[in-house]
Symmetry: C2
Subunit: 125 residues, 2 copies
DNA sequence: CAGTATCCAACGCGATACTG
DNA sequence: CAGTATCGCGTTGGATACTG
């Protein structure tokens, strides 16, 4: 079974939810959303990106950027100077992802306390 | 740094995106969304749920349900009969999560091909 | 029926060291 | 500057067996 076999309530009837898990596989890891957020205002170089995202290792920055590039969410531009210079930038597709992520953000802000309380209640019992 | 330290473009200005990663921690695992989708039409018993979600093990169904229950997204009702009967149901909070998930779904459907092609191109080079 | 318990393989990620 | 290579640990999740 895939998520697509089950349908969520939708704006228009008959629409299903194929591929939701695929998005989570895209940006559901530890760092992708931080990178996307860090790139929202324009191109950023590798080490600058690293400085902006506190706690990320060089290795994970490279790996995560490769994934985002592979999926067409981020573009990589190499300027063959010495020393080399590489700029990462959101593609249009990558930028368009900010909208649904915003919807999640709003939900999170609205339900943050609900969840905290639910957890406290559950852990108490 | 948290995601909240970076702001996404928003409907209203000055709004940030705190807690996005927290949602991913809530439902970003392998099975949560399948369970939520399976519960959208009303309460379902344990083994029925298991039958509806192809591939999930008994163990993972239990664990994932406990997590959703703890976070207040799913409620668990025990009918102390013999044999026991347990019904799981989306809470209002859990149900409200379907909306932002829908936004992600729509994005996925719109960008599915883009992503496939991007991957094909990347893997070819 | 609705779980628990145990074991284990795969993966994600961090730390560290090295390079064109 | 912008990476790659290697190692190792902790977590996730699957398989299987057992239980009130």
């Amino acid at each position: 079974m895939t998520l697509g076999d089950m349908d969520f309530p939708t704006p228009g009837p008959g629409h299903d939810c194929r591929m939701v898990r695929e998005i989570l596989d895209l940006v559901g890891d530890k760092w992708s959303l931080y990178i996307i957020a860090s790139l929202k205002d324009g191109p950023v170089r590798f080490n600058e990106l690293r400085r902006r995202i506190d706690g990320i290792s060089q290795r994970m920055l490279t790996i995560t950027l490769r994934g985002l590039e592979r999926n067409g969410l981020v573009s990589r531009t190499l300027f063959p100077t010495i020393p080399p210079r590489v700029e990462y930038e959101l593609t249009d597709v990558g930028r368009s992802l900010l909208e649904p992520v915003m919807a999640l953000t709003l939900w999170a802000n609205a339900n943050q306390l609900n969840i905290q309380h639910a957890r406290a209640r559950y852990d108490a019992s």
